[in-house]
């Protein structure tokens, strides 16, 4: 490839520098600053005269029983979401890949949740989960005679957030899976049919293995995005209602930082979230070799 020429050196710099300066400004600087204040006592009281106090913030986060509880809840949130996203997305893609009349109409309508801005999704679902006037309870009481206190209980609100986020996330997986299916050569299925393979065999031995390299990077990203999905949890539960019970890690940090201004605490907390994700993704990438094709 271009490697020795002077022209290409200059070009390389001018291709990459602007992007890196911008990301450096917005990512590396805050990152380093965040590390610094995570070891400090900065808060609303000590905003100007803050000083380094060592690992106290980290100790405080880790010794809070709420941390372990919220972490577990976040893991549950992530697993449930990604399982539903992938399950729904891939199964829909399998059907949309068949020769069905009207499939492009279905495909268009099914992508809709992805196209709608995320905050509108969240605010709209919050309206729909309203106990008295929301569509969901009106429909439930009309058809089944029940009414669920969605947003006023801990697990009701969790379920509401979960449903809203499943709605929002399955089209991404569906689109990725559709693309993957298109790249599987038809001949493989034909050959398998000549050998008398059943529907299940074809799924198990052709579709799934060949879909895997496409899905694994998408799933990795999906897990990271869901673990850190602030918008849906925050906007559906209106900042963690009822009484700060509906939080995943990232929404709780946000509340500590911007409602309670426990700045040192919140930045230590952010570092821990980042650490968890980094270790997880590294393991996941190693195990699944997700980036093998990517680093080419």
């Amino acid at each position: 490839m271009f490697s020795k020429e002077k022209e290409s050196r200059i070009l390389l710099l001018s291709y990459t520098l602007p992007a890196f300066i911008l990301m450096g400004l917005m990512v590396i600087y805050p990152f380093i600053f965040n590390i610094l204040i995570s070891f400090s006592n900065m808060s609303l009281v000590h905003f100007k005269d803050w000083k380094l106090i060592g690992v106290q913030n980290y100790v405080q986060v880790l010794s809070d029983p709420n941390f372990a509880y919220t972490l577990l809840k976040t893991v549950l949130w992530t697993v449930l979401n990604v399982v539903f996203h992938v399950g729904i997305g891939v199964s829909l893609a399998l059907f949309l890949h068949k020769n069905l009349k009207g499939k492009s109409l279905f495909r268009t309508l099914l992508i809709l949740p992805w196209a709608v801005p995320q905050y509108i999704t969240a605010l709209t679902w919050r309206g729909m989960f309203n106990a008295e006037y929301g569509w969901i309870n009106l429909a439930l009481s009309k058809w089944f005679g029940i009414s669920v206190p969605w947003l006023s209980t801990e697990w009701g609100a969790f379920t509401a957030c979960l449903i809203a986020n499943i709605w929002l996330g399955f089209p991404f997986m569906m689109v990725i899976a559709l693309g993957g299916l298109q790249s599987i050569p038809e001949e493989l299925y034909e050959a398998a049919e000549i050998d008398g393979a059943s529907w299940f065999h074809k799924l198990r031995h052709i579709t799934i293995p060949l879909l895997k390299p496409v899905m694994v990077p998408a799933i990795t990203l999906g897990i990271i995005w869901t673990f850190n999905n602030f918008n849906v949890v925050w906007l559906v539960s209106n900042g963690g209602e009822p009484s700060d019970k509906t939080h995943i890690l990232v929404s709780w940090v946000y509340k500590s930082a911007f409602t309670y201004f426990r700045i040192g605490y919140a930045s230590a907390f952010s570092m821990l979230i980042f650490g968890i994700l980094l270790v997880f993704s590294w393991q996941f990438i190693q195990k699944t070799k997700a980036t093998e094709s990517v680093y080419g």
């Binding site: 070009l11 992007a19 890196f20 809709l112 801005p117 569509w135 990271i224 906007l235 911007f258």
Partner: protein
């Protein structure tokens, strides 16, 4: 058509029911918002399940334009989103190209650190930014917003563009350079036009990042005259009894352009996105 993609009658029935159930799930909230946006003021808290409300009216839409600062928010959002789209597309078109075509020290590290940025919890960037802005009194300024959005969109769009360039054979540029074209010329005249589907998706992604972002804006913008659409709509939604209709009408109007763009581009989306992620 190929036999293997046909279905038995029973399979067909099952496929259609399955697709139908999820399609209904997908359009339900959308139908709801449209329905509420058409309700007259005295029926906002109606308990009816009708899709087209009794006495349907465009009153909410009229009020949005005449009595509320909706147009101002639209203008603000358009300014911010256009800037982000332009800057984001240019920067990822060039940086993605460098990652695809050049070998240089620290390339793997750079690519991995781009991926790591996706793991930052949002507070990790927002908190230092917030402190910085307080210290230098740079509140209520679009420049901060534009830089923040572009930087958030870049990691994904650079990867996306790199994946796209990787699918374009290198021999095309070689031939062009042998014919006396400069390296930049080969990129500009040969590769870039071939990568236009990737560019379109990158632009769409950058635009959507800016058009739909709530959180950073909520921290950086306090002045109501500078509110972008998400901030404005959230304001309606927070007193839902009064403004549910206004919120819904606004939500419909805000979503229309992105949904249309999305559908227009959905063909490219499917090929571009998978090319980007698979062959990356």
């Amino acid at each position: 058509m190929r036999r293997s993609r046909g279905l038995s009658p029973f399979g067909k029935l099952f496929a259609y029911s399955y697709l139908l159930v999820f399609t209904l799930f997908a359009i339900l909230p959308v139908v709801q918002v449209i329905s509420i946006s058409l309700r007259p003021g005295n029926q906002l808290l109606s308990k009816s399940l009708r899709i087209i409300p009794q006495d349907a009216t465009l009153e909410n839409y009229m009020r949005l334009f005449t009595k509320e600062p909706f147009l101002q928010w639209v203008k603000n959002s358009v300014v911010v989103s256009t800037a982000v789209t332009l800057v984001g597309t240019i920067l990822s078109a060039t940086a993605g190209y460098a990652f695809s075509r050049y070998k240089f020290k620290g390339k793997r590290l750079a690519l991995f650190s781009i991926l790591t940025t996706q793991m930052f919890p949002v507070t990790m960037l927002l908190l230092p930014l917030f402190i910085l802005l307080i210290k230098i009194h740079a509140y209520d300024n679009y420049l901060g917003l534009i830089i923040a959005y572009t930087a958030t969109a870049l990691p994904f769009t650079i990867w996306q563009m790199k994946g796209f360039y990787d699918t374009i054979p290198y021999s095309l540029e070689e031939a062009a350079v042998l014919d006396g074209c400069s390296y930049f010329g080969a990129f500009w005249r040969i590769v870039l036009p071939l990568a236009s589907p990737g560019l379109v998706i990158t632009a769409l992604f950058a635009f959507m990042t800016a058009w739909s972002e709530y959180l950073v804006a909520a921290v950086l913008i306090q002045d109501q005259n500078l509110f972008t659409l998400p901030l404005g709509l959230k304001m309606f939604q927070s007193n839902m009894e009064v403004s549910w209709g206004l919120y819904s009408a606004g939500a419909v109007l805000v979503s229309i352009p992105v949904v249309l763009l999305f559908f227009l581009l959905s063909r490219w989306l499917i090929s571009g996105l998978t090319l980007g992620s698979v062959k990356g």
